[in-house]
């Protein structure tokens, strides 16, 4: 018996070793290194000296860095809210009795599985200032009288990148919420209907409460991915016009890799961590599973 227990621990460590080595070396270590770099004046190819809070002090008074924080929050909040509403709506639609249900579900997920950088190029073309198909169609319908400058005007650009992000994110939310919807027993809806609940009431008082745990998880992931988004912005606008769409991730890339100021970029990336932690903690403590959702009672 001792031998087996012994074996377990030794074997456990052995089995864990390959994954642990890779993760410690290329995930945990860089996480620490990134924080350290934020306190140095490192440049590409040259390890820097410790400079204390200099990078952070600089970033706090840097107008572009502040704008990027605003952009990131705006982008995350608006895109996540829209993705949630549309995703939930699409999930409810797909949960109806439909012909070719499996096929529809497969097609809906397509925007999520193709490389974002490549679908962003398609959006770039759709948003082209001279040949945009959206502008063309709206002109024909008489909705506008000249072509929209989607990516050239600060607010248009902000909304355009949000639209592209929503396009890519809705399928993920819809399909995962659909999986949650499918676990809700139809008899609950029948009971509610017999009690005279309207369609909206059934959704509000049956579907939504039972779906909350999975919504919490899905939206946490969605917010994390949106907050740290990079590719879409890099391809569509590179942060322009006038830094109006620079997110913290794209700005840190510009400062660290294109500009060579590794320390400053790392400090900016480190500044994202508190926001990510806050999101995770909020979802963990605020939206946890409640006992009544499992048929128990609240304390």
């Amino acid at each position: 018996m001792d031998r087996i227990l012994d074996n377990r621990n030794v074997l456990g460590i052995l089995f864990l070793l390959p994954a642990a080595v890779l993760l410690l070396l290329f995930l945990t270590y860089p996480l620490g290194l990134g924080t350290w770099l934020g306190f140095t004046d490192a440049k590409v190819g040259r390890s820097g000296e410790f400079v204390g809070l200099e990078n952070f002090a600089f970033l706090v008074q840097d107008a572009v860095a502040r704008l990027s924080l605003f952009n990131t929050l705006f982008y995350t909040i608006i895109a996540s809210a829209v993705k949630f509403v549309l995703g939930l709506w699409l999930a409810v639609l797909l949960n109806e009795r439909l012909p070719f249900k499996a096929f529809l579900r497969a097609i809906v997920l397509l925007p999520f599985i193709v490389p974002t950088a490549l679908s962003a190029i398609a959006f770039w073309w759709i948003y082209d200032s001279q040949f945009s198909i959206v502008s063309w169609a709206m002109m024909r319908l008489g909705l506008i009288d000249r072509y929209i400058d989607f990516l050239g005007d600060p607010w248009n650009a902000r909304l355009s990148v949000i639209a592209a992000n929503v396009w890519r994110g809705v399928p993920f939310i819809a399909i995962t919420l659909l999986a949650g919807l499918q676990t809700i027993s139809p008899s609950l809806y029948e009971a509610a209907a017999l009690d005279g609940a309207s369609g909206w009431q059934r959704f509000r008082h049956v579907t939504l409460p039972l779906l909350t745990p999975i919504i919490a998880v899905v939206m946490t992931f969605s917010v994390l991915f949106t907050f740290t988004d990079f590719q879409l912005i890099y391809v569509l606008t590179r942060g322009g016009p006038l830094n109006a769409t620079h997110l913290m991730a794209t700005l840190s890339f510009q400062r660290a890799i294109s500009g060579g100021a590794l320390g400053e970029g790392a400090a900016l990336a480190t500044l994202m961590v508190p926001f990510l932690m806050a999101t995770i903690l909020f979802s963990y403590f605020g939206l946890q599973r409640r006992a009544w959702q499992q048929g128990g009672s609240d304390r």
Binding site: E96, I107, A117, P186
Partner: protein, 290 residues
């Protein structure tokens, strides 16, 4: 049985055909149109000759004289085939490497139950939440110092940082569903842990392995920020990075070949996905559900 069937039909009989059209078919068609239009637009743009692309006359939704000139240019006048090969190589190798590490780790955490396995499991989940956007700068410094800058190996070694946490988490769920009794029987018959993993657990976990593999492959195929940061020579670039950085020349955008590049780069994952939709969806939802 009859009960469950009437149950799944629900209360649809209460709805009229007209309200069903307004509340179901109309919004659903709008969703599908918007979600699929960019793909249609990619295909149409790829097939359009330049004079049709850059004219505001006629109906832009259709192509009058389709041509494969853009695809031809892409395949024979750019490094696109090399990028494709790099992407395949990097994706396949990093997926296999991650699967191997994840199978061992998931089995150790879920079944060997060594001391502290719970905390390792938690750690794996937390690792899953660390976004590449905050890792790429320190990783770039490391890659540079290790002499891996501008090599495929840099990508093969860094992709597992987001693949292993995901795959391990997914496989832990699958291993949990395999009855413990099977393993106990084999242990009594004198099988070693290695034999149990190889002969009993893995064959039963094949669906999980496929899910994890497909998902890991698409994740590495779609990866952008590491490939953009760690690679600078054209001949080692991956498709997403190559298309974005090399096909855009100056102020004149070659929309035809750009769209052809986007289309050809999306097709492999789309085809793979279409064969394994169920596995992919179960991987997606399984990873979120736990």
């Amino acid at each position: 049985m009859a009960d469950t069937i009437t149950d799944t039909t629900g209360m649809a009989f209460l709805e009229t055909r007209r309200s069903r059209f307004l509340t179901l078919w109309l919004p659903l068609s709008v969703f599908l149109f918007v979600l699929l239009f960019p793909f249609y637009w990619m295909v149409i743009t790829t097939l359009k000759p330049n004079e049709e692309l850059l004219s505001r006359e006629g109906n832009p939704f259709w192509v009058i004289r389709p041509t494969l000139a853009h695809v031809h240019k892409l395949l024979f006048e750019t490094s696109y085939p090399e990028w494709l090969w790099n992407t395949v190589l990097v994706s396949v190798v990093s997926t296999l490497l991650s699967l191997l590490c994840s199978v061992l780790a998931a089995y150790a955490i879920e079944r060997l139950r060594f001391r502290g396995s719970r905390y390792v499991g938690m750690g794996i989940f937390l690792a899953y939440l660390v976004p590449p956007s905050i890792l790429f700068i320190p990783l770039a410094a490391m890659v540079y110092n290790l002499g891996l800058f501008d090599t495929r190996l840099a990508l093969i070694l860094t992709y597992p940082t987001f693949l292993i946490p995901f795959c391990t988490w997914l496989l832990m769920g699958y291993f949990k569903s395999i009855p413990l009794e099977l393993e106990e029987c084999a242990l009594i018959d004198g099988a070693s842990r290695w034999q149990i993993l190889w002969r009993i657990v893995l064959p039963l976990a094949v669906p999980g392995l496929i899910s994890a593999g497909i998902f890991a492959f698409t994740l590495s195929w779609n990866e952008f920020i590491y490939a953009l940061t760690f690679i600078s020579s054209s001949e080692v670039k991956t498709v997403p990075v190559g298309v974005v950085t090399e096909l855009v020349e100056g102020d004149v955008y070659h929309w035809g070949s750009l769209m052809a590049g986007a289309l050809l780069g999306s097709l492999p994952v789309a085809i793979l996905y279409s064969f394994f939709v169920e596995y992919y969806v179960s991987g997606l939802t399984g990873a979120v559900k736990e």
